[in-house]
């Protein structure tokens, strides 16, 4: 029963986690707007979401059991859900910084709004499950 409930919430949980991660990357861009040589980073949310939903089929953090000191430790690489990409600068500055403050702030506000949308949807699902339980 409980695993079916967590299954029901998994999609929203993944989406919120990725939104929060993207918010962190964007806040780092804004913080480093004056750092010489800093390259503006971002990731594609659609790809990241597809990877994250696909990743739950894989075994996380798989290691080989070592029974002898001469065994070579083997470990399955756990990929990050999203590859960080570089933003194409519209107006690169002379010190090598590619942060465009307007773009970053628009993306930041947009991402914050989508995070809140995700929260609202998740909250509605929790409420409907709760009311189903109370019937």
């Amino acid at each position: 029963m409980t695993d079916r409930i967590s299954d029901a919430f998994r999609f929203d949980q993944q989406a919120l986690a990725l939104r929060a991660q993207r918010q962190e990357v964007l806040s780092s861009n804004i913080a480093n707007a004056d750092t010489p040589g800093y390259k503006s980073r971002d990731f594609d949310f659609r790809d990241a979401m597809a990877n994250a939903l696909d990743a739950r089929m894989r075994l996380p953090e798989t290691r080989l059991a070592l029974t002898s000191a001469r065994h070579i430790p083997g470990r399955a690489a756990v990929a990050q859900p999203a590859d960080l990409l570089y933003r194409q600068p519209l107006q690169p500055s002379l010190d090598g910084n590619t942060v465009d403050m307007d773009v970053e702030r628009v993306e930041f506000a947009d991402n914050a709004m989508r995070y809140q949308t995700g929260l609202t949807v998740l909250s509605g699902r929790i409420k409907s499950l709760l009311s189903a339980m109370q019937q």
Binding site: L16, A17, A20, Q21, Q23, E24, V25, S27, S28, N29, I30, A31, N32, A33, D34, T35, P36, Y38, R41, Q80, L84, M101, R105, F108, A109, A112, Y115, Q116, L119, L122, S123, I126, K127
Partner: protein, 138 residues
């Protein structure tokens, strides 16, 4: 947790930008200081920013906050002003004035305060997102 590390990232940017404003204010205030404690004219200083890599987080090595890597002296030569009446004048009547570019410092100050404001906005957004997350399901 990404939302809490936003506080750390934006907070480090606030610290760095306020240090930049501090240095800029010192430059402006000493734009006419002919002699410092060592008897030499004041030299303009600039802060150098660098990314402080967050450790243990996803993307920790790539994205992170800001830190001030150091404060360097501006390399430009002192401004020579003709003022034979000054006690600091050399034998030709010139006084070495600080190499402070007041216009550039003003621009620097405005830029730093705008960046500071942007990071305060980031902090406020992260805070409101977090509070909304805490009240989830109620």
């Amino acid at each position: 947790m990404p939302l809490t590390s936003i506080f750390q990232i934006a907070g480090s940017a606030l610290t760095a930008q306020s240090q930049r404003m501090n240095v800029s204010a010192s430059n402006m205030a000493n734009a006419d200081s002919v002699a410092g404690p060592d008897g030499q004219p004041y030299r303009a200083r600039q802060v150098v920013f660098r990314v402080s890599p967050g450790d243990g987080r996803p993307y920790g090595g790539v994205v992170g906050g800001v830190q001030v890597a150091g404060v360097v002296d501006a390399p430009s030569p002192p401004r020579m002003t003709y003022d034979p009446a000054s006690p600091m004048a050399d034998e030709r009547g010139y006084v070495a004035m600080p190499n402070v570019d007041v216009v550039a410092e003003t621009v620097n100050m405005i830029s730093a305060s705008r960046s500071y404001q942007a990071n305060v906005e980031v902090l406020n957004t992260a805070k409101s997102l977090m509070l909304k997350t805490l009240s989830l399901g109620q």
